[in-house]
Assembly symmetry: C2
Homo-oligomer: 474 residues x 2
């Protein structure tokens, strides 16, 4: 097989069929699939199965205790197999304001917040991760149209609970281990930043997502309903209780987590990662990061490698949301009977979700907040791959073919359940994530991806599959 020639033909095919391909992308992201409230989940899963069948494979919707996993196979009679991991669920849009009328309208416009990007698809999930997912499907279709077959056998594992913390994916992997055997795993992603630079991440942080609930009880406070606020003079208030409990866990400057033992497993980067940091530091533009997120300053007065070390090797304790009592319009003087906060920890190194939870529980108990309930909604450790693993190697090579020198990061500050692939106790296969294309505002209003980037992404993915087959054959 002449990979370069094969790749050129597929790229020409995608150029030629781009009008239809773009409409296919729009059709896929227009289908809502919000795991938080269930909107469109079944329809989106069925769309995916039809897609896999169209590619000559067999697809099924496999129930779990939560949202189903879409599982599929395409047998190409090839010596090697790739496991395509993806997610068909997206973040909620409740309460958000978008520049487009409908966050699921598949609208193409030049974003007023970044006109230099040119035409973009502005739609929930277009970057995270339904755009990349449908790009992969279209790349496979192009490969098949041009070559009559695929360079590798393909297994699909597309979950519907990533945005809820992939809670039932471990069960699925455990129960379907035999039919998830592959040589490498891949997660498609739009890896270019605002300037077109390719960012490549060799891993992810872990996460522990919790819900704290303070409620009236033996300590005092209304137990079943709000009572008149004038009683605050002699009754306790669960909203105050939650406030005090949370405040006890983090220093006022938000730099130090005050939970005993929280940092016990936190260690500096190893030599390999430190080398990557030294390469990364000169290319990091902290001001661009701040501008992109519309934030005026970092917590730390640091720059270069020390700032990157904080970002990548420190855990967080973050309030995602808080609610209690009458927060709506108007005045209502009550003592609420309940207040809640959603709190997440991003975990690094050998931090174990269960141990971390137990330290938080112990902190609350020791500080007199034993009544505050902590429910775990999501929990998994970090995961890392090595730059010489075949799927990473093939990825770097494909970037080079497209004229890009990727900037290699030891891992993302964000989380994904990649331990299921990399961990010896689980599938024990190397995983890569990447691809050309640019998008942004993930988990925020006006999530977008550039139209040009989607085309680049499809061409890149097709070439990547050809390269990976070659790399695995060596």
């Amino acid at each position: 097989m002449n990979v370069t020639a094969d790749s050129s033909r597929v790229q020409a095919y995608i150029d030629e069929h781009w009008g239809r391909h773009l409409e296919e992308v729009r059709a896929f992201v227009r289908q809502p699939s919000i795991s938080a409230d269930g909107t469109g989940m079944g329809d989106c899963a069925r769309m995916l199965v039809r897609w896999i069948e169209r590619l000559g494979g067999t697809g099924e919707i496999v129930p779990t205790k939560g949202w189903p996993v879409v599982y599929g196979r395409i047998d190409a009679g090839a010596p090697h197999t790739i496991l395509l991991y993806g997610m068909y669920d997206v973040q909620p849009v409740l309460g958000e304001t978008w520049v487009v009328g409908d966050p699921f309208g598949g609208e193409i416009m030049t974003p007023p917040f970044a006109p230099e990007l040119g035409p973009c698809l502005i739609n929930r999930g277009v970057m995270n991760q339904k755009g990349p997912l449908v790009n992969t499907l279209l790349a496979l279709e192009a490969l098949k149209s041009v070559h009559g077959t695929l360079p590798m056998n393909v297994i699909f594992m597309v979950e519907g609970e990533e945005e809820m913390g992939s809670q039932h994916l471990p069960d699925f992997v455990r129960e379907n281990r035999d039919r998830l055997q592959a040589d490498a795993a891949f997660f498609a992603f739009l890896s270019q930043d605002l300037n077109g630079k390719v960012l490549s991440y060799l891993g992810v942080k872990g996460i522990l997502f919790m819900e704290f609930t303070a409620r009236g009880g033996d300590w005092g406070g209304p137990t079943v309903r709000a009572v008149h606020g004038s009683n605050a003079v002699w009754y306790g208030n669960p909203a105050w209780r939650l406030t005090h409990a949370l405040a006890s866990m983090l220093s006022t400057d938000q730099k130090h987590i005050l939970v005993d033992g929280f940092y016990d497993e936190v260690e500096p980067a190893d030599a390999h990662d430190e080398a990557l940091l030294a390469t990364l530091a000169p290319t990091l533009d902290p001001d661009e990061r701040l501008r992109g997120d519309e934030v005026r300053c970092f917590k730390y007065d640091l720059d270069g490698v020390p700032l990157l070390r904080k970002y990548l090797y420190q855990p967080t304790l973050n309030i995602d949301g808080i609610v209690g009592g009458h927060w709506q319009e108007g005045t209502k003087t009550i003592i609420p009977h309940e207040a809640k906060a959603k709190v997440d920890v991003r975990m690094v190194r050998d931090m174990d979700p269960r141990t971390t939870y137990e330290r938080i529980r112990a902190h609350l108990d020791r500080h007199g907040f034993a009544d505050i309930a902590v429910e775990i909604l999501d929990a998994y450790p970090w995961a890392k791959t090595r730059s010489d693993d075949p799927p990473v190697q093939a990825m770097i090579e494909t970037y080079h073919q497209f004229g890009h020198e990727p900037e290699i990061w030891p891992h993302l500050a964000g989380s994904a359940p990649f331990y299921l692939f990399t961990d010896k106790k689980w599938l024990n296969i190397p995983v890569a994530m990447g691809g050309l294309g640019h998008g942004g505002r993930v988990h925020s209003p006006n999530e977008y991806a550039t139209v040009q980037g989607m085309k680049d992404a499809q061409q890149w993915i097709a070439a990547y599959f050809l390269n990976l087959a070659e790399t695995l054959a060596q």
Copy 2:
């Protein structure tokens, strides 16, 4: 005029017409009038005007910068005039669960949470204060039907913003001072507790209702939209900021407000009030209070007079509501760009709302929270009357006629803008609030009033007007 005979005839009239009277009460409370979101406010004001006209008076809906005041007069050619103060707005019901299908259904049922009460009207506003208001109208109608005229001239001032803190009532009083001249003011209320004991309050606490807003800014944090939670490792979070700011203001046991100068004007009860407290203490059943509110214990390990002193002579700092970020179902890992809390202070003695606000502002500034905005939504001082003021005297006498020995409280722990009546700089007339009847769960789901109590209330109010006319004539 023979007050006792006159009173008996009116009581007989109400007995005789009770079926219709009860339907009139139900019709009035069924009309929603939620000032927080505007539901039914105009319709309710027009119902009131029609009521005043039906009583032979003239009524008008007087615009303010907020909800209008219903102003009315009935000229009875009498030597004295009573100013009837009331409110036609009620608390919101958003997010509440009621035992009746519709909080505005005017349903009569024996409440499952207090079956010993027998048939009750369960409806938003039935106690606070639309039930007592329509009872007053029905009492006036009965007086007029029986005697052909009323014992006093009547002025109505019924506001639509009490639940929003009576923000524009001071403007109304200032602008309509000339046509608010009266000998006494009265606010109808259901004054009997669960055991039928009459509680009489000679005043109210003041209030300062604020909204705290923490938002990303020069200190850090996202300024215009939520950003991905993984950035919490290097960006600040407004929800943490609000949490720390609030926590700095109150001790963890919720007993001590930590704002400098907050207690400067707080003083012990005077001799007159201490005498009342000594009489009150043996009759206070703290356990009944706790049971009624479904609270398990007080903040303070106190009883009798010391507990009452805390309740009546201490200010509060209370979180009414708090909100920020993604608090809804599911996990969403974000740093919110904003978090808000509604906080109220119940003010005693010479505590001045403006000074108290300034002390809170200074506390925030001094503790490094200058960026947190504090908006005042409501503010007025406490108000007190004396037990020998004519409207109070007539009230006690009327209770005696109905066989009740009222338990006299120096003031309520709750708030009402009675300073507009009592203060020398305002109307400078004595005010009384009271009446027979029992209700509860004000500002909470399942607000109720007993059916028997509504009838007692109407008969009592008619008698009270006769007594007050007599007292003023002496």
